[in-house]
Symmetry: C2
Subunit: 211 residues, 2 copies
Amino acid sequence: MTLTRDAVVDAAVDLLGEVGLEGLSLRRLARDLGVSAPTLYWHVADKRTLLDHVAERLLADQWRVIPLAPGEDWADWLRERAIAQFRALVAHRDAALVVAGNRPTEASLPAVEQVLATLIGAGLAPVDAFSTVQAVGNLVIGSAIEYHAERERPASDHGRPAPPDPQVYPHLAALRPALAERAGTPEDHEALFRHGLDLMIAGLRVSLATR
Amino acid sequence: MTLTRDAVVDAAVDLLGEVGLEGLSLRRLARDLGVSAPTLYWHVADKRTLLDHVAERLLADQWRVIPLAPGEDWADWLRERAIAQFRALVAHRDAALVVAGNRPTEASLPAVEQVLATLIGAGLAPVDAFSTVQAVGNLVIGSAIEYHAERERPASDHGRPAPPDPQVYPHLAALRPALAERAGTPEDHEALFRHGLDLMIAGLRVSLATR
DNA sequence: TAGCGTCCCTAACGCTGTTAGAGGAGGGGG
DNA sequence: CCCCCTCCTCTAACAGCGTTAGGGACGCTA
């Protein structure tokens, strides 16, 4: 069985999950595949385009077209799609960083078209629908990157940061106990993402109602 | 005049704007400062912590406390702050990527405290106010990163991507003329960011009204 | 059998972040 | 005056990086 480009991309996805974007080197990847490093250049033009393929694979599931069920609220439908996208980016280490460096791929067009159709069908102006798709995407990327960034750093920190002085920062200090237990957990980050997403969706509802 | 850490950080900020994050190497930075590369390690622990200082400098202006003017709408105030933050990240090449890798720094606490106070003063529950601050921050980061990512790539692209087939992608095809002229410009990205931000703010208004 | 495309190899280039260890300049105390 | 000590900078080097050049073994086709 000879090496294929798909196998290279598979191994790259695995390696990314194992060592993160900074640790993903072609030499290491080649070693995992039992092959020398320059061999990879036969299957892949470049490290950058390899990462493009990795990004495409990470999001592949998200490009499935899932039509709005009859009677289903478009907002619920949109929320579920966005959450699934967020989960896909959070599930794999540094996935958000890899995806962020990418041009939108051809494979995403059907899904984008369908979201556009649904939002326009709900009553949004086409240009607003397009802006909304991108804005939600930006929120997904930003939330996922922030999640990974927070996750990668704790080693460099010498202990926890000092608690905020209640005299100077009363609100921050008051929030501390509420945040302490769940801060940093994936559930917390997903809840945070949902909060922003729900704000956007509520805003969409308003802009639909006032047209 | 001997070298100081501030001077190193200044030069790093300049170099970042010139060559981007990928081109920012300690050797190149040292050369710009007329110094050998290992010398930098006297002033800075690490490349990573150097970038931390760079991030802090890039956002320094944003931590200024600007209180809500009497009679000013909290939403307008919040919007202006967020837009200023977005502009700061968009103005400097790869600024968003550098900032995204960072822990929140001590210097940001007064500003966060003040935003919390304003949102709570407007009637938001403290926990919701905190989530909102972070959600807006995530939207800022995501939008800015997407802006830079799009800006860095066009060299690798062989021409424009093919126009979407109107038969298969009617909505995308219909949008093409409207997007063609302004796509990619900083104004377009700021407008896109404002769209998402306004959705969130409209959502906030709703959640305030229904309490 | 000859040729050719496919797939992999070794060797090497110039770059990277980082460490080890030496040395010069300048000020303070004996 | 001289010595020491601290600050700051240096050269040399290490392991690792992405990438290119060029060669060699395999199997299919003519």
